[in-house]
Assembly symmetry: C2
Homo-oligomer: 214 residues x 2
């Protein structure tokens, strides 16, 4: 049964980006430290066209994210910098370069219409009628494989609120950010139940898998 | 080497008590769900004078907290309901009944002077010159054993900020509270580093042990 799986990294104090996030510093002040657990892993390096790297728990966490992935849903700011019209966005082609590390269709939730964008083996499709519509398109595209959701917090919250998430793989970086973008906000506490399914850790992160019940 | 160890339970969204905490509902709205992982365990029941109960990961988490404990530091509201003068506090003798489950000296951080209180095998000592003073007294009382800190969030934050914590055992209940008392606040993000040391889980909680570096 194909699942919708969130993979997201938060600080110990619950932030997915630090304070003062901007086009220049999309992860906010100190936020690049969130993902230090990933950068040296063999799977991350391979995904970004590099060789070598570490194996182990953190590497395995990346591999699990990629395995079985048939489509991606992401927020506008995870694709590029802005939130206004595309013609005003200096990052209109996205953060992901000419060889985005997806290789499956990516559905970008945005308020601004735009034709699909092909980059390497990845097609970005821009969906303007909301997260649920993006999820439905991703469902069709993914077929028997999983839908992967990596952020931002807004998209994650909307999918959780809509009852569309089967699994949350929460990667907790053992740092404090103090302020920034919170992962869990604007959710009805009574409507979601999480069930810990698996936990592993390295010195750089804990990786907690939750089944999501609603 | 005797350590100062925090054992505290937080929700997935980082709260140690829900909204609208009061003397009647010290854990706030929904907050009693935080500790559901503990109530059925054999160690919890034994600590509260009952027999039976479950063994396993959650039970072990309680046992670890008790083992090697030589003194406790807690905040005023974890001892009783109020924060004003004792004579105005309907819970002046505390939540803990005639047989408090500590059996070691407990140092209560408060703004209001009061003579020590003996209950069962537990002596509560009221410390009015701050968290660091309470910690120093606990250090002397604990000798070669550990200082256990169970909350509230204020005391935890002050001890972390003062660099007096060696280990954080964070018990994460897989629920959202949406609002309430946050565990991590008012801390300087750059001054603390946490290192995951061990993680285990049951369907009811994840138990994450961090070494705390400063």
């Amino acid at each position: 049964m194909p699942a919708t799986v969130i993979d997201i990294t938060a600080s110990l104090d619950g932030f997915v980006a630090g304070p003062d996030a901007s086009v220049e510093h999309p992860l906010g002040r100190g936020g690049e430290r969130l993902h230090e657990w990933a950068y040296d892993s063999a799977a991350w390096r391979a995904r970004h066209g590099e060789t070598g790297g570490e194996t182990g728990v953190d590497d395995e966490a990346i591999r699990e994210q990629i395995t079985g992935m048939g489509a991606v849903v992401m927020g506008r700011r995870m694709f590029s910098g802005g939130s206004g019209p595309w013609e005003d966005d200096p990052m209109a082609d996205g953060w992901w370069g000419d060889e985005p590390p997806f290789g499956v269709p990516v559905f970008v939730v945005t308020h601004h219409r735009r034709a699909p964008l092909e980059k390497g083996g990845t097609t970005f499709v821009f969906v303007t009628d909301g997260v649920e519509a993006a999820h439905a398109q991703a469902r069709t595209a993914a077929g028997e494989r999983n839908i992967s959701v990596g952020g931002g917090a807004d998209v994650v919250q909307q999918l959780l609120a809509a009852g569309l998430v089967d699994k949350l793989r929460l990667h907790v970086a053992p740092i404090l950010l103090g302020d920034g973008v919170r992962l869990f906000e604007r959710l009805d506490p009574g409507r979601l139940r999480f069930e810990p399914q698996r936990v592993v850790h390295s010195p750089r992160a804990t990786h907690v898998h939750y089944l999501v019940h609603r």
